[in-house]
C-alpha cells in the first residue's frame, strides 16, 4: 500500500464505521456466548484485544517471510499461541475471570475477527498501522461486548457490574440472560448503533 493511512481514521474506524460487532457482525460466538453480564463482556473484550494486538504485531512483522500458500496456517499458529498464553495467565492470576469465561477463552482462536484482521490488514500494512488497527478494532469489540453485557445484565438480573439495584425477590427478564435474549439484545443494539452513526456521518 503506497498511500499513507491517516492513523486517526484508522483507529476510529474499528470503533465506529467498521465496528466488528455492530457493523461487520464478526466474532459472534463469544459475543453471544459470554455477554450474560457486563463484567464478562469486558473481560472477554480485553482478552480478545490482547490477542488481536499481539497477533497483528507479529503478523505485520514477519509478513514478508511467510510464503503466500501457507499464510493461513501460519497465522492460526501465531493466534493460537497467544490465546494459550492468555489462558494460562488468566488461570494463574485471575482465576475468577478464568472460571467465568470457561470454554470461550480457547475459542478466541476461531474468532474470525482476529484472523480477519491478520489476513485483511496486518499482512498488507506496516507495523504502526497494524498496531493502531488492532487497537481500534479491539476497543470497538470490547465496547460492544461490554454494552451488550450491560444491557443483558440490567434487564436479566437487575444489576450492573454485579451491583444489584432491584430487591432480591424481584422478577427480572430471565430471557435476556439466556441465549435467545442475546440475539434479541444484539439485534436491537445493532439497529440503534447503525441509526445513530448513520445520522452523524
Amino acid at each position: 500500500m503506497v498511500e499513507k493511512l491517516n492513523q486517526n481514521d484508522n483507529f476510529l474506524k474499528g470503533i465506529i464505521k467498521d465496528n466488528p460487532v455492530f457493523v461487520m457482525l464478526l466474532g459472534m460466538c463469544p459475543t453471544l456466548g459470554v455477554t450474560s453480564s457486563a463484567f464478562n463482556g469486558l473481560g472477554m473484550g480485553i482478552a480478545t484485544l490482547f490477542v488481536l494486538l499481539m497477533s497483528n504485531i507479529v503478523v505485520s512483522l514477519i509478513k514478508s517471510q511467510i510464503p503466500n500458500k501457507v499464510r493461513i496456517p501460519a497465522f492460526i499458529i501465531i493466534i493460537a499461541s497467544f490465546v494459550t498464553i492468555v489462558e494460562m495467565v488468566l488461570e494463574a492470576f485471575i482465576p475468577f475471570l478464568y472460571e467465568q469465561l470457561g470454554i470461550f477463552i480457547p475459542l478466541i482462536v476461531v474468532n474470525c475477527l482476529i484472523l480477519g484482521r491478520a489476513e485483511a490488514f496486518a499482512s498488507k500494512n506496516n507495523l504502526i498501522s497494524s498496531f493502531v488497527d488492532a487497537l481500534g478494532m479491539g476497543i470497538g469489540f470490547t465496547i460492544a461486548l461490554t454494552l451488550l453485557g450491560a444491557v443483558r445484565e440490567i434487564l436479566g438480573s437487575g444489576s450492573l457490574f454485579d451491583l444489584k439495584f432491584v430487591s432480591e425477590n424481584a422478577n427480572t427478564f430471565i430471557l435476556f440472560i439466556l441465549p435467545p435474549g442475546a440475539f434479541i439484545a444484539l439485534a436491537y443494539l445493532s439497529v440503534l448503533f447503525n441509526k445513530v452513526t448513520k445520522t452523524n456521518s
Binding site: 450474560s36 453480564s37 514478508s64 517471510q65 511467510i66 510464503p67 503466500n68 500458500k69 501457507v70 496456517p73 501460519a74 499458529i77 501465531i78 493460537a80 499461541s81 494459550t84 498464553i85 494460562m88 495467565v89 488461570e91 494463574a92 492470576f93 482465576p95 470457561g102 436479566g156 438480573s157 432480591e168 427480572t172 430471565i174 440472560i177 439466556l178
Partner: protein, 194 residues
C-alpha cells in the same frame, strides 16, 4: 523485502520455524504460570474450607483423606479440621453430574454431630442468573444447621424439603444429590472409625 516464494522448501521451513518459536515460548510461559496456578487452586480450596467449617487451627489441606467411591469419577476428598486437638468438623467434596450443564462440585462442611455447617460451591457451569443463584445466601440458608438424617435433601416437588430455585429445579436437584453424597460419605467414614 520481497515476498518469499511458495516453494516446498520455503513453506516447510517457515512453518517449522513458526511452530518451534511458538512451542518454545508456550513452554516458557507454562513454566512461569505453573506455580501461581497451583497456588490459585489451593487457595480456593482453603477459602472454601474456611467458609464451611467452624473455627479450627490445624491445616485441613494437609489433613486430607482420599476415598475411592463408585459414586464419583475422581476420588473424594475429605478434610478434617481440629481446634486444639478436638474435632471441629469435616469438609467433604460432593459432586453430581446431573446439573443443567453437567458437573456440579460443592464442599459441604459438617459439624461433628452430622449437621451441616455451611456449603460452598466449587465448580459449576449452570445458567447465569438462574442456576448460579445456588451460590446465593438466600438459597444456602435453608441447608444450615440441618441434619440430613432428618432433613430430606430432595426438592419439595419430589417429596423432599428443599425449596427449589426459580427456573432451576434441575440445578437444585443436582445440588441436593451432591449434598446427599457428601453426607453418605460422612456417615460411612464415621462408622468405620468407631
Amino acid at each position: 523485502m520481497s515476498k518469499k516464494e511458495s516453494t516446498f522448501f520455503n513453506m516447510t521451513l517457515t512453518l517449522l520455524v513458526i511452530t518451534m518459536v511458538a512451542g518454545i515460548s508456550l513452554g516458557f510461559i507454562n513454566d512461569i504460570t505453573k506455580g501461581p496456578k497451583a497456588k490459585a487452586i489451593l487457595e480456593r480450596k482453603v477459602n472454601a474450607i474456611k467458609q464451611v467449617l467452624p473455627e479450627f487451627n490445624n491445616n485441613p489441606v494437609e489433613n486430607v483423606t482420599l476415598i475411592k467411591s463408585d459414586r464419583a469419577k475422581d476420588s473424594i476428598e475429605i478434610f478434617s479440621a481440629f481446634l486444639d486437638d478436638k474435632k471441629a468438623g469435616t469438609a467433604i467434596i460432593g459432586s453430581s453430574e446431573k446439573g443443567f450443564s453437567g458437573l456440579i462440585k460443592i464442599m459441604v462442611g459438617f459439624k461433628p454431630d452430622g449437621t451441616i455447617k455451611n456449603i460452598a460451591v466449587l465448580e459449576q457451569k449452570e445458567t447465569p442468573g438462574l442456576g448460579t443463584k445456588m451460590k446465593d445466601e438466600k438459597f444456602l440458608r435453608q441447608f444450615r444447621d440441618k441434619d440430613p438424617s432428618s432433613f430430606n435433601l430432595k426438592v419439595i416437588k419430589d417429596g423432599g424439603e428443599v425449596d427449589a430455585l426459580t427456573g432451576a429445579t434441575i440445578t437444585t436437584r443436582a445440588f441436593g444429590e451432591a449434598t446427599q453424597m457428601a453426607y453418605n460419605i460422612f456417615v460411612e467414614t464415621n462408622q468405620s472409625k468407631n
